[in-house]
Amino acid sequence: MAEAEDFKVIGTRPIRPDGVDKVTGRAQFGADLNLPGMIYGRVLRSPHAHARIKSVDVSGALAMPGVYAAVSGADFPGAQSAEIGGEGGGDVADLAQNVMARHKVLYHGHAVAAVAASSAAQAEAALEAIKVDYEVLPPVLDLVAAMAADAPLVNEKCFTKNLPEPAEKPSNIAEVMTLARGNIEEGFEQADVIVEGEYRIPMAHQGYIEPHACTATVNEAGQATVWCCTQGHFGFRTMTANILDMSVADLKFIASEIGGGFGGKTVVYLEPVAVLLSKLARRPIKMVMSREEVFRASGPAAGSLARVKVGAKKDGTITAASAWLAYEAGAFAGAPMGAGAMCIFAPYNLENFKIEGFDVLVNKPKVAAYRAPGAPQSMHAMESALDDLARELGMDPIDLRLKNAVEEGSQAAYGPKFPVIGFKECLEAAKAHPNYSKPVPEGAGRGVAAGFWFNAGMQSSAEVHINEDGTVQLIEGSPDIGGSRSSMAIMAAETLGVPYEEIRVLVGDTEASGFNNVTGGSRTTFATGMAVIQACEDIISQCKERAAKTWGIDADQVEWEDGQAVPAPGVNAELKPLSLADIAKGSARTGGPLLGRASLNARGPGAGFAVNFGDLKVDPETGKVDVLSYTAIQDAGRAIHPSYVEGQIQGGAVQGLGWALNEEYIFDEHGVLENPGFLDYRIPVASDMPMIDTQIVEVPNPTHPYGVRGVGETPIVAPLAVAANAVRDAIGKRVHDLPLSPPNLLAVIDGD
């Protein structure tokens, strides 16, 4: 693999190709498409967290002026149970029920009907004319109570999966899993010190600033075009086709610019409803969620309860560890319990461990992926326990982790042997970082924690078209959520040997681009980037053939250097190099337009590791926590555009700190979310945060031509425990539950 110093474009920080449109208001996001004759759709949502729907009558709405269509669950085909893979996947029948309730409503805010009208205000008014008769049922709201054998059932047809014996009666526990190695009893017997703790984390929302939005139009042949903000328009097409029982060929999805997602825009909410309403109304329709709807009915991340026990020898060697992890799935199975279980011990060499996981139904919104889904919850518990262990042993927390850190060849707790990874490099970088040797300010505490995420590969496609003047058009299909057009253009420029400025990047719609899995799993720069590189290599090999044809020599006597075809050393030295522009200009004579392409299912994404530390100050009077400084170190494999890598690290750190310090879903005893707005669900604002110092470690991933590892998700994992460990250091007591909000903190500070 090429060394960093060999690169011309990789590692530079050019302006993103879509930049000007994004700073001038030209960029079009999900809610920004208006079509002639367009009408507006609104959704009626359940006022109960759990109820049987006895009847829905939309006739009152249909009788109102300016109302074009109204639908409820009965108007949707009955989607068959089928699994859709990947992030945002799940059972289609569940997705269909989540999009529009049938028979039962399962959370407060669950969609029960929808209306299309000439204005959003008229559609809103028409919702009030819809009559729904409910039989209210007791809501299942507490994670532990939901697991009891005699708990009221969220879903009477839910039988626990993965039990040693098939379940005989239904349960709110949708699935269990166990991972184990060695003998934990013996391991704990060998330990000189054992720490344990129980940690609760409430549901939290991804908090993207752009609400879900789409514009749909269906023609008289039943062919639909849907414009929407999505992390994966191909996945949205699959889901919508399944939910509406349509052919994939009759659905064209155009990914708009996307105003944040963090995993939350990997599933459909409005799109199938908009298509159905547009079809019935025979007009284009726009649907946009209110912020309150976003909080009540989309996302969130799973709430969790984790019990962790870790034993170690005096020298810090971990002898055994156990974890019991229960995750709230919300109304449908599918909490990221499995990923949480697989991540919790991943950074450490463990001979003896046992992990038990539970996916639990409750009458709360169906959870969605949120940045390294499942990992922050479980790793907060482990990284807090390790902090306690370091204290008991009198060891530096980084040294304790170094003592047990996995490296190339280590058997991961979740199964495979690690290939080349950069965990030890991150730990050593943290220890050597100037911020780590600074004294902790008066009244503050320092917290250290590690983060891990698998990263994903999956399917991507890319095309490269060479324009007649030699400039380059890339076509890929991964929605650009954080600057990925820029990393694609950099990798293309590096591979082709042409200037970055000569490359344009299109995120094609489902008819213009080959298939792509979602922008999720930190896969885009890795996997779609790999497709782009291969498509460029395809161009290079074609250019060599075209040059050979022009020169009348064999293609194997042509090489590609700095964006031009040159004769191989030693022969044909008299031939003048042919640039990409020269070859493009003459392409009609050598075989037609230059079009390179690649499609792949990328393997070996390269695990992501991070080490973070921060100094946090606690006001013992009010319980308010201030973040004084924060340092985040992460292995990016190779930073293609370092500014956007730093941005991922900084953004993830602040999201994690928000979850740690303040963010939580607060439900009343009826299951009604009490803080469905940014005023009461308070995400960090600029004045809450310091600068976030970053250090990019580069341990190249050998499976990527330039060494890329995914970087988007790992950054959110460590901050939860960094905050908890810093607060522990500051106040001398462990606060096990998040958020570390003033009431929770004061309860512990004053709790003697």
């Binding site: 208001g25 809610a31 912020r291 960090p684 004045s687 809450d688």
Partner: protein
């Protein structure tokens, strides 16, 4: 209720429109006037995505009624760049990679313009408090603050 006729000035140009009395300014800009640069993230004045200048004052267009624009001068994101090209704020946001998804960016650029008109040489704390009404979920704020600091330095040089 019948619609109201409103005469206003948007980005220096006289504009007339009809709107319902309860329609917000952000809704008028987007749905009646097709000026989509101003984004709507919450409709309750909490996220700042719809930041515009009204007679030079920074406001959330979701907390202003369309009829209140009558006789006022409104500046939106579409009015920040000039014939000479991008405004320094826009250039610096790009140079510093102070945006990831970009949905909050129009609001930040308008808010930064208002900030720098009031405080041409702000310290970090002033910038952080001025921009505390604009939510960004992607960047963790670091690069936004640095971009704004750089704009202030650059504009001070030019002055």
């Amino acid at each position: 209720m019948s619609k109201v006729h409103v005469s206003t000035v948007i980005n220096g140009e006289p504009v007339e429109f009809l709107c319902a009395p309860e329609q917000t300014l952000v809704n008028v800009l987007r749905e009646e006037l097709d000026r989509m640069g101003t984004k709507e993230g919450c409709s309750t004045g909490d996220c700042g995505s719809c930041s515009v200048l009204m007679n030079g004052r920074l406001v959330c267009a979701c907390l202003v009624l369309g009829v209140e624009a009558s006789g006022a001068e409104i500046t939106t994101i579409e009015g920040i760049a000039t014939e000479e090209g991008l405004h320094t704020i826009q250039e610096k946001f790009l140079e510093h990679a102070a945006l990831q998804c970009g949905i909050c960016t129009p609001g930040y650029i308008v808010a930064t313009k208002a900030l720098l008109e009031k405080h041409p040489n702000p310290d970090e704390e002033t910038i952080r408090y001025w921009l505390a009404g604009n939510l960004c979920r992607c960047t963790g704020y670091d690069k936004i603050i640095r971009a704004v600091q750089d704009v202030a330095t650059e504009l001070a040089h030019e002055a």
